[in-house]
């Protein structure tokens, strides 16, 4: 009898399937990897199991009995624990307090001594070292994760779900974490590990299920499969790539990064010795699984984050000391992946948002006094050109929060591409957009290329990267894993680079070096 069986699970959100007929079986003492791209439905499936969502249809059998949990509390009581990607610990409480928080005890009084002894026993048994009196706020992310795992074990779970557990860990912590998983497995725990890192799957899992677009596309014993096969399943061969006829990229260098590094902060990823060039009239795609330093790189380039070492040359001149505004005025535009927070002030109207970069200059302002009429008039024209649709009556006076995602993005592009733009830094520029808006954005980027401008396209979407780029760099763990020409690139090669399973030199690509000594190379043959 299987520990857990999920059969034909379907779940849709406003008409879009997040899970479509997904089945999953986990045995005792098995580490089962759930693989898939962002948005493939992994977390949704687990949230259904954990009682956070209710499935539209399908059945869940737990130790042979059909169940349906309506809250995590019920799931935990039945013996299913989940460590979410974002931890649910109380920062100001100690490790012990967090572990025993909300625990059902028979007595009215808390016997901290007894609870503490039990925690320490668990901690020793599985080699999960924690300090029971340490405050969560003072712990590293890796330590917090250990607390989360102990919290689940303390509740006598038999199945542990781990959502992207290694995303926040250093390679050393990951290695130790895998040792813990192995000892749990030996004790007969069932473990589901959600991930999109190929190397880790090969290293730790017994079985692997691959989700794509909400559907289960493959299930295999890890020993019988290869990273190549997995990455093909994960990404799919759905892309019919229509690379347009296009001119050759220029030879002049627009942007050059020389050994750019930045130390990891509390909430930021490190950047490691990044070197690449973007030529004039070229689109350089920067592929990579999210959270490998993309955001930090973008912010170092735009000037939002300082304290980076190395050199950034923009059209031959160093811009390391220039501020955000100076860089924009030199021609560096930024389309952020977080449009509502970074690129728009949603409480302000279209006119004001369009002028965010240019409000202080002629013709919009003279000696610090703004000319709103002129701004509004130009906004009307821009809305026309870029097909920004707002309610007819209010037009440019419409508050931006009332616009659709596509129109918001058009507005950002209209603003960033106006003026003297020479390089567009576009991060996830089509995420969440409908087909029409996506096409519009891509056309604009290609058009900018034709005009001799440069584009640095940061995207986790390989299809997009392959469709638009002249060359493709892959970011992994804060460094460049490799740079390949579009004509030499395919999904498999990029997938392996993205997963850190192979370094560029070995896949036959040219690229700058990166420190990979700490990555175990399970995927190589």
């Amino acid at each position: 009898m299987a520990l857990l069986e999920m059969k034909h699970i379907c779940k849709s959100f406003s008409g879009v399937y997040a899970n479509e007929d997904v089945s999953l079986t986990v045995e005792k003492g098995e580490i089962h990897a759930l693989l898939g791209e962002n948005g493939a439905g992994k977390t949704t499936l687990m949230n259904i199991l954990y009682g956070l969502y209710t499935a539209d249809s399908g059945q869940i059998f737990w130790k042979g009995r059909e169940v349906s949990f309506s809250s995590p509390r019920e799931a935990i009581a039945a013996g299913i624990g989940m460590v979410q990607q974002h931890f649910s610990l109380v920062r100001d409480l100690s490790t012990l307090d967090n572990v025993i928080l909300n625990l059902k005890t028979a007595s009215l009084f808390l016997n901290r001594k007894k609870e503490r002894a039990r925690l320490m026993e668990l901690s020793e048994r599985y080699g999960i070292a924690v300090d029971p009196e340490a405050k969560i706020a003072d712990l590293s992310v890796g330590e917090r994760q250990r607390v989360e795992i102990l919290k689940a074990l303390y509740r006598n779970v038999e199945l542990l779900i781990l959502d992207e557990p290694t995303g926040v860990l250093t390679p050393q912590e990951t290695a130790h974490f895998f040792d813990v998983l192995r000892s749990l497995k030996a004790e007969g725990y069932g473990i589901i590990i959600i991930t999109h890192r190929m190397s880790e799957i090969m290293q730790i899992s017994d079985k692997v299920s691959v989700l794509r677009d909400g559907k289960l596309v493959a299930e295999a014993d890890t020993a019988d499969t290869t990273p190549d096969e997995l990455s093909a399943w994960m990404i799919g061969r759905k892309m019919a790539l229509n690379i347009r006829e296009r001119g050759k990229a220029g030879d002049e260098i627009m942007l050059e990064l020389r050994h750019v590094s930045r130390r990891a902060g509390k909430h930021t990823h490190a950047l490691r010795d990044i070197c690449f060039q973007v030529k004039k009239g070229e689109i350089l795609g920067l592929a990579g699984v999210e959270g490998n330093g993309q955001k930090e790189l973008a912010e170092v380039l735009t000037g939002l984050k300082k304290k980076a070492s190395g050199e950034i040359l923009f059209d031959g001149k160093s811009i390391m000391d220039a501020g955000v505004r100076e860089r924009y005025e030199a021609g560096l535009a930024y389309i952020s992946d977080d449009r509502q927070n970074d690129s728009l002030i949603t409480g302000m109207d279209i006119t004001e948002n369009l002028a965010l970069r240019s409000y202080a200059k002629e013709p919009y302002a003279t000696h610090g006094v703004m000319h709103r009429g002129k701004m509004r008039q130009d906004a009307l024209g821009t809305m026309e050109t870029y097909q920004v649709r707002a309610s007819g009556k209010t037009g440019p006076d419409t508050t931006v929060s009332l616009l659709s995602g596509g129109n918001q993005q058009k507005l950002i592009i209209a603003r960033e591409l106006s003026g003297n733009v020479r390089l567009i830094l576009a991060a996830q520029p089509t995420r969440g957009l409908d087909i029409g808006a996506t096409q519009f954005v891509r056309d604009r980027l290609l058009q900018a290329r034709e005009e001799g401008k440069s584009v640095l396209l940061i995207s986790a979407d390989l299809e997009e990267i392959l469709a638009l780029s002249d060359r493709i760099a892959v970011l992994y763990n804060g460094g460049i894993a490799g740079i390949v020409d579009r004509k030499d690139a395919d999904v498999q090669k990029l997938g392996l680079l993205m997963g850190g399973a192979v370094s560029a030199g070995e896949s036959g690509a040219v690229g700058s070096g990166t420190d990979k000594s700490d990555i175990r190379r399970e995927g190589e043959k």
Partner: protein, 344 residues
Amino acid sequence: MAKTGKVRGAAEAACILLLTVLAAVGLILLCGASPSDAGGLFVQGIFRNTSSMMEVFVKACPLILTGLGCAVAFRTGFFNIGAEGQFYIGAMAGTLVSLNLPFNGPLNILLVILAGFLAGGLWALIAAVLKAKFETSEIITTIMLNYIAINFLGFAVRSFLQDPEGNVPQSAKIALENQLPGLITSTRFHAGIVIALLCVIAVGFLMLRTTAGFELKAVGQNPRAAACSGISVAKNIILCAFLSGGLAGIAGVIEVLAIQKKLLEGISASCGYTAVLVTLIAGNHPLGVLAVAVAYAAVQLGTGSMQRQLGIPNAIVSILIGLVVILILARKLISLIGSKRRRA
């Protein structure tokens, strides 16, 4: 969308007004007075004669300035609760300069006002720098700075600023030619009110028509996006705090130069705290602040007359203002809940 928003806004305002009037009637009945008599006296208290009508502006003057300061700060997302302390620091600095300048007359007054502005502004700057550099909550620091300022004034009027001629805790009298003159005979309408109105125009222009005001608003609404567009968040927080504290400082100076003619304890009549409420009601709009401050002063005078004639406690004003603020905040809460539900 915008039109229905306006209709809804008006409906909500009417509801708030109605509830407030009902509460007032209830409180008057509790005192055993007739609401109609009380109403008559209320109106009389305000519109009895020119003097009483001008008195509205006298009472509104410090509220207008401190409220204007709060509006600048709130709009930039800097929750300056320290107008009270900034008022006192301004009053103290103004008095010190006024009593020590070797010359009298208009130039003296001008320098005194400038001193009040700078001192209030610098006092607010402490909280701003702490916020900009260390992300310390300005709500806490400004309140703490209030305690320091209020008690430091008590200290000052018993030591270095105490009138050497007497032994009362107050400063020497400001020389007549250094006082802000009254402008309308047989009323207390003084030149400071004109200064306050000029400040409304100047600050209103700054907030609504200049690039500096645009930056302040952008930082207040989304500091992250402002930074991404190249607007310095720290600079704008510091700027708004300085302006905000400076306006409260001017309010303090005017109170000394036009009303009390000397420095003494409690001269703010807590207007620095009332200003926070005035600004909340006014929705951080400079002209709104003017209107609400004048209305608040009028209500205060009206109920003052009710108290004298019918023994209805003046505390009714504070109760009603508290009610209005809660209703306005509740309205925001309701619309917030509404929008969340729509999203889900």
